[in-house]
């Protein structure tokens, strides 16, 4: 059973890192991407988007300093690279890069394919779950890495 005190802190008094932080959203379904983008922008995060894994990896490689986290779908295109590959590449570039997977599949695959210290949000999700997850990982990252 979740800790209710923790729940209220998460819902009521969440501290958000914003402004100069850019989140990479990787989703091939435009409507889902729109929802995630609008939620993150509403929480005052900057957002960059990619529709497939190849484009996402190119953005991470070109622009890894400006991107601070990735929120990625897993099955992005039949036969192509997946969200698992995007996250692996992100971690190759930056060892503790915050990773959030959005998945319609069972979470058991996450154990086998996910990068360590990542989060997985099961579809369908409420946009608040994504914003909370992003905030959690960024807070954690800023606590570990001193400015």
């Amino acid at each position: 059973m979740p800790d209710r005190d923790e729940t209220i802190v998460r819902h009521g008094g969440m501290k958000r890192l914003t402004d100069d932080v850019r989140i990479l959203v990787v989703e091939d379904e435009a409507l889902i991407a729109d929802l995630v983008i609008s939620g993150l922008e509403e929480a005052r995060y900057g957002v960059a988007t990619a529709q497939d894994a190849e484009a996402a990896i190119a953005m991470l490689e070109e622009d890894d300093a400006a991107l601070r986290a990735v929120v990625t779908d897993i099955n992005l295109a039949a036969g192509g690279l997946t969200g698992w590959d995007v996250a692996r590449r992100a971690r190759e570039l930056v060892a503790d890069f915050p990773v959030i997977y959005m998945s319609g599949a069972s979470t058991s695959e996450w154990t086998a394919n996910g990068v360590p210290n990542s989060l997985i949000i099961a579809k369908p999700f409420a946009i608040g779950q994504i914003v909370t997850a992003v905030s959690q990982l960024l807070n954690k990252a800023s606590a570990i890495v001193p400015d």
Partner: protein, 360 residues
Amino acid sequence: MPTTLPVRNLEEANLLAQAIVNTIPEPFLVLDADLRVLEASRSFYEIFKVDPAETQGCLLYALGHGQWDIPALRVLLETILPDRVAMDGFEVDHEFPAIGHRIMLLNARKVLYDESDTMAILLAFRDVTERRAIEHEKAALLERSEELRRQNEVLLEEMRHRVANSLQIIASILLLKARAVSSDETRFHLQDAHQRVMSVAAVQQHLDMTDGIDQIEVGIYLDKLCAGLGTSMIGDDQPVVITVASDTGMIPSAKAVSLGLIVTELIINALKYAFPDHRDQAAIAVRYTIDQDDWTLIVSDNGVGKAADKPPKADGGLGTTIVAALAKQLDAQVTMATGPAGFAVTVARVAAATPLLRAA
């Protein structure tokens, strides 16, 4: 206690041995040290379609136009047996000219005599062709069913993925529309519809995690459902604590869907109407109790309660209608209570009392 065979001389012993050989239903040969056939059983002649005249005294490998000149049999008789007294279950897979493909299990035994340097070899055959065919068929069937099971798993996983993705798209459309519309009432309805989609999805996710089991633990389910509602519905401006207290028990998934939707409606209702002004320690409590076949669900809040002269709700009481319909489906009664401490809705299923028999 040792017994003695009823033989008085060598001739009688031979007769008995021959009778034994002919009684055994499986093909059987007695060979000398040079692998010549001394004796063959009746079943040997019948099964391998050879006659005694061309069998007795012949070299085993020359029998039946060389049909026993089998490399595996040579290994048994010339390599394995000289080093051992016996060998059981030696498998020979061979195409016999007269009877076709056969798989034989061979048992071989050396018989050594104390006062002589001669030796005999007993060779028994068991035809396991049919047995092996059945075993192969069984293994192929098992492999096929395992393959089908794997395919089903992949299909199920794919279906889960598609259902989840489709629900996410529907939820996204509703929420994006809700944000775009200018009418408060329309926004209100779209947000409601979004939340109902999420509630059905919460049931689906929970059922997926139970891996196809049609019964789910009610306490864990309600807890997760309410946590999800809290995440998506409670904003920063009015924190609300949702607590769940439930008896432990399993419920069928169909009931879980209805129960989950009732809880969703009642929580949405409380979040909308119970706290019109900011209130510290705003809380919604969900309680589920089980008494044998009966159960009671109470969703209460510590908000403003429901005023008797309150105007009709913007949704035209849709939430109430949904709760009433779902409760009816569960064969349960809905009662509401309001007071200074807040508002509570009780949904209870109480089995009908057994009718009393009346005397005429």
